[in-house]
């Protein structure tokens, strides 16, 4: 009965003033997101920009948050609020493959516990943990909107649906 999300990130973050730097192309990309929203509503670009930070830095790290707060004229705590709300943003480093198993009702009924059990046993980790080789992270997340094909999980932006134990094995084998 381990919990996937630690209840409180706040104590673990070592807060620094350091600000991340990005290449001109990435900055350009971030600017392009801004143009989609009215000028005085810059903060609306927060979610797309969080994705950029995550792609560039692997996870939403402290310097990245500082950068975003500056870029969008927000308080760091505003960024923190949004970033922690969505399970697709990682506040800690994750493995190369981030397996997010849906644990909400439909999937649960259709056999999520068995899938989770199997994945975790095979990788030897609890949900929320990363394998020692840094290859896999397993998380339990809320409904991913694919209930019709439950149980399901997500790796990055790819969906794996109608899971069975055998199917999971094949998937894990295929992931490098």
């Amino acid at each position: 009965m381990a919990t996937a999300v630690p209840t409180d990130f706040t104590n673990q973050v070592v807060f620094t003033e350091e600000t991340a730097t990005f290449s001109p192309e990435v900055i350009e990309e971030m600017r392009s997101h801004l143009t989609k929203y009215p000028e005085e509503r810059k903060r609306s670009a927060l979610i797309p920009l969080l994705f950029v930070i995550q792609r560039e830095r692997g996870y939403i790290d402290n310097p990245g948050v500082n950068f975003l707060a500056d870029f969008l004229d927000l308080e760091v705590t505003d960024v923190w609020e949004t970033a922690t709300f969505y399970s697709m943003f990682n506040l800690r480093p994750v493995g190369r493959h981030h397996l997010q198993i849906c644990k909400t009702l439909s999937c649960k009924i259709m056999g999520e516990p068995e899938i989770t059990e199997h994945v975790c046993n095979r990788l030897g980790i609890h949900p929320g943990e990363t394998t020692a080789d840094g290859k896999f992270t397993v998380s339990l997340v809320e409904c991913l909107g694919s209930c019709g094909t439950a149980p399901m999980m997500q790796n990055g932006f790819d969906y794996y649906e109608d899971l069975t134990v055998e199917k999971v094995d094949k998937i894990l084998d295929s992931l490098k």
Partner: protein, 768 residues
């Protein structure tokens, strides 16, 4: 505002209510109780607690009354089996993760959750699963946090956002894991404590008062803030002669500021019962000797005989922190007891030029909140007049007001401004001239701003329909203040009111100006008098002037730089120990009430002054009752005519002193002086680009705030401790250097152990 009336039916009774009224307010006003948590009159709607459910005919499902605006013909039921069942269910959910240990919770006894559950909930709990237990911790030296008691009403985050404009505290994570907190776990904000005030549960706690006593054991005394000139109303909680805390909770006090206070008003009360208070009269018999404790009789006698020797060379100085009663009596002391015109207020910012040229009415804080255009020239309300700053923020945010800041520093409040005229360092005077005399376009050169910026500003003012407010403070020269105060009235028109709002620095600056009509500049009094009676301390840079005086009497709470020059020090009572009045920057004359008896042998300043006067053979006609002093004030100060204490009884209806706007005076002298000053300004001057740090004035350690340990840590930059579970006061020395690291570590290991233990035990129970 339209006051169209519509009809609504509540529980089969028909009422006429104002169109646009909120249903929850209407129901409560008409006497139908409705439980609520997240609803807070002054904040954006949230509708997350779902306690306020009602049935409205023709609407499917129960509705949250806090989000419903009354419409004509609405038929509402607030009580039925269906509603009760839903409310019981909601409160059960709220309690699902809430520890049931009110006896150890600091909010117990005045907790809204406790009350709501007693009134509307089920007293038996069916929830047996493991609770999401979390340890109590600190978010700052001032804000303590017990996360597991949170019901996620988000009043705290809204208050921080809407009132303070800080967005320092937010909700992180989601679902059952949601916590109120910050990124990094530490609150680096202004520490106003408003989040603590509005929290309906024991989640956010006053770190200064925590665990000192219980709410029901304290006496509550309604009184007025002793720090800011906004005159915020608050309630002092005291027990057995000791002040334990200050709140503005609406169950105790209902003043112009609602539940709003700032860090000084709410937390810096440690000075009242400080062990450093002067206990008895002290006499220095020989210059250079020591101050020796004495009795009142002897001290008064000694002072009397010494002052007689000095004839009418005696000067009197009053601090603008004192009550009107004390300042008035000190003035009478000067004119009647020692026959001297040498009296002054020890406040660098003289309000006389402002009030002598008042061409428009003073505005109230309510009018700021609903103003259409606000012009702020200099000053820093977010650090000095915090309630004014809050009203400005809300006027902009919720009322869509235009807010124009003219400043040489990009103050934090300027971020909310619709126009920011960034002038050269120290050239606010030039702006005053350019604004008052629009004929001379050359002035803008000195200003470092373009003429078009001023044209834009004038255009905005010209387009304003409704209230136009001009605010400025002491960073303008006296001439500039006179000119601005005098020109303000000319902006009024049929559709526009022009209003003025001064920004004085002390709680009773305005009252001091009223009481000491004819006062002289402080320096002049200090230089020309041979002997001095000083109530309160002088600004530190002025104390040198006290050397070589024949005789100096100081009435003070603490030994300060001023008392070092004193021949006699008389222990004065603090604002919590006296009855009286303060006058705020809106001209409201508000009551100060005695919460505790004067500490040690201290006495109210006006009592001390009248005791010395009697020794000198003068009689003011009052000796014991501040009521009589106030009556004397009302009889001799025109603006206070007819006022009596009973008229000031209700803090929710404050009474304004009657300042009559003066007819436009000939100010050519002032204009000429101002022009000379402006011409002396350099044409090119670098601009200040750095925004001052949060709390750079609020967190300053002074004689008064310094008696509350937490302020030392705040002033040292509010360092984040290693360990959030243990009070920062244990982990840091007062100068902010780390201390007792091992002790903090040891304490936290214990806490963690306890929690881990509980978890293992609990999970075993669940798994079995």
């Amino acid at each position: 505002m339209s006051t169209e009336l519509i009809k609504v039916t509540i529980n089969e009774q028909e009422f006429e209510v104002e169109k646009g009224a909120k249903l929850i307010e209407v129901c409560r006003e008409k006497g139908f109780g409705i439980p609520s948590f997240c609803y807070y009159g002054d904040l954006a709607l949230q509708a997350s607690c779902r306690m306020c459910l009602v049935r409205i005919e023709k609407m499917p499902k129960l509705q949250t009354s806090c989000t419903i605006t009354c419409t004509d013909g609405m038929i509402v039921t607030t009580q039925s089996e269906e509603i009760e069942k839903a409310q019981r269910a909601m409160s059960e959910f709220l309690l699902a993760n809430h520890p049931l240990d009110c006896p150890v919770c600091d909010r117990g006894g005045e907790c809204e959750l406790q009350e709501m559950v007693m009134d509307w909930g089920d007293l038996e709990e069916r929830f047996v699963e493991r609770k999401n237990a979390q340890p109590e911790k600190f978010l700052s030296p001032i804000v303590a946090n017990d996360p597991q008691r949170c019901i996620l009403c988000k009043r705290c985050t809204r208050v921080c956002d809407e009132w303070m404009g800080e967005e320092a505290i937010e909700a992180g994570n989601r679902g059952v894991n949601t916590v109120i907190g910050t990124y990094g776990g530490w609150l680096g904000c202004s520490q106003c404590g408003n989040c603590i005030e509005v929290c309906p549960t024991g989640t956010l706690l006053d770190g200064v008062y925590r665990h000192e006593t219980r709410p029901w054991e304290m006496d509550q005394t309604r009184t007025t803030d002793v720090y800011s000139s906004d005159g915020m109303q608050l309630s002092i909680g005291s027990r057995g002669g000791e002040v334990h805390r200050i709140v503005a909770r609406d169950r105790y006090v209902n003043g112009l500021n609602g539940e709003f206070l700032d860090v000084k008003a709410r937390f810096a009360h440690g000075f009242i019962n400080s062990k450093d208070r002067i206990k008895t009269p002290l006499i220095r018999y020989k210059k250079g000797g020591k101050l020796i404790p004495s009795t009142w009789d002897e001290a008064i006698h000694f002072v009397g005989s010494k002052l007689k020797e000095s004839g009418n060379n005696v000067g009197v100085v009053a601090s603008s922190r004192l009550t009107n009663e004390s300042i008035f009596t000190l003035k009478r002391f000067a004119t009647e007891a020692v026959n001297s015109n040498n009296y002054a207020v020890s406040d660098a910012y003289d309000l006389a030029p402002f009030f002598d040229n008042l061409s428009a009415p003073l505005c109230t804080h309510k009018e700021i909140r609903h103003a259409k255009t606000i012009l702020l020239i200099g000053g820093e309300p977010e650090e000095e007049q915090t309630f004014t700053a809050k009203q400005i923020r809300q006027a902009v945010r919720n009322g869509g007001a235009k807010f124009i800041v003219v400043h040489d520093t990009p103050i934090r409040l300027a971020a909310q401004a619709s126009q920011f005229i960034h002038v050269n360092k120290g050239s606010l005077d030039a702006f005053a001239l350019a604004f008052a005399d629009q004929s001379d376009a050359t002035i803008t050169k000195k200003l470092g701003a373009a003429q078009t910026e001023i044209d834009d500003l004038l255009k905005t003012i010209g387009e304003t329909e409704g209230d136009f407010i001009i605010m400025f403070g002491g960073d303008l020269s006296a001439e500039a203040q006179a000119v601005l105060a005098n020109v303000a009235g000319s902006f009024a028109s049929d559709t526009r009111r022009a209003l003025l709002h001064p920004l004085p620095l002390y709680n009773n600056s305005v009252g001091a100006n009223d009481m000491m009509a004819g006062k002289k500049p402080l320096e002049e009094v200090l230089r020309t008098s041979k002997a001095l009676l000083i109530a309160g301390s002088l600004p530190e840079d002025k104390t040198d002037l006290l050397a070589n005086k024949d005789f100096v009497v100081v009435q003070e709470l603490f030994e300060t730089a001023t008392t070092e020059y004193a021949d006699v020090v008389l222990p004065a009572a603090s604002f919590a120990e006296v009855d009286g009045t303060f006058t705020n920057n809106a001209g409201f004359v508000q009551r100060v009430r005695k919460a505790i008896e004067p500490i040690h042998q201290s006495k109210p300043d006006w009592v001390i002054a009248s005791m010395i006067a009697r020794e000198l053979g003068a009689d003011f006609g009052y000796n014991f009752s501040s009521t009589m002093v106030f009556k004397a004030i009302a009889d001799s100060v025109p603006a206070y005519e007819g006022l009596r204490y009973p008229l000031l009884k209700d803090e929710s209806k404050p009474v304004q002193a009657k300042y009559s706007p003066v007819a436009k005076r000939d100010l050519s002298n002032e204009f000429a002086a101002l022009r000379r000053k402006v011409e002396a300004l350099p044409e090119t001057s670098e601009k200040i680009t750095e925004t001052p740090r949060v709390g750079h004035k609020l967190h300053r350690v002074t004689t008064m705030t310094g008696k509350t340990d937490q302020f030392h840590l705040l002033a040292a930059g509010n360092p984040k401790p290693e360990n959030l579970l243990v009070s920062p006061l244990v982990q840091f020395n007062l100068d902010g250097t780390p201390r007792l690291v091992e002790m903090a570590e040891a304490a936290s290991v214990n806490v963690k152990d306890r929690i881990d233990d509980k978890e293992t035990v609990a999970s075993k129970v669940v798994l079995k």
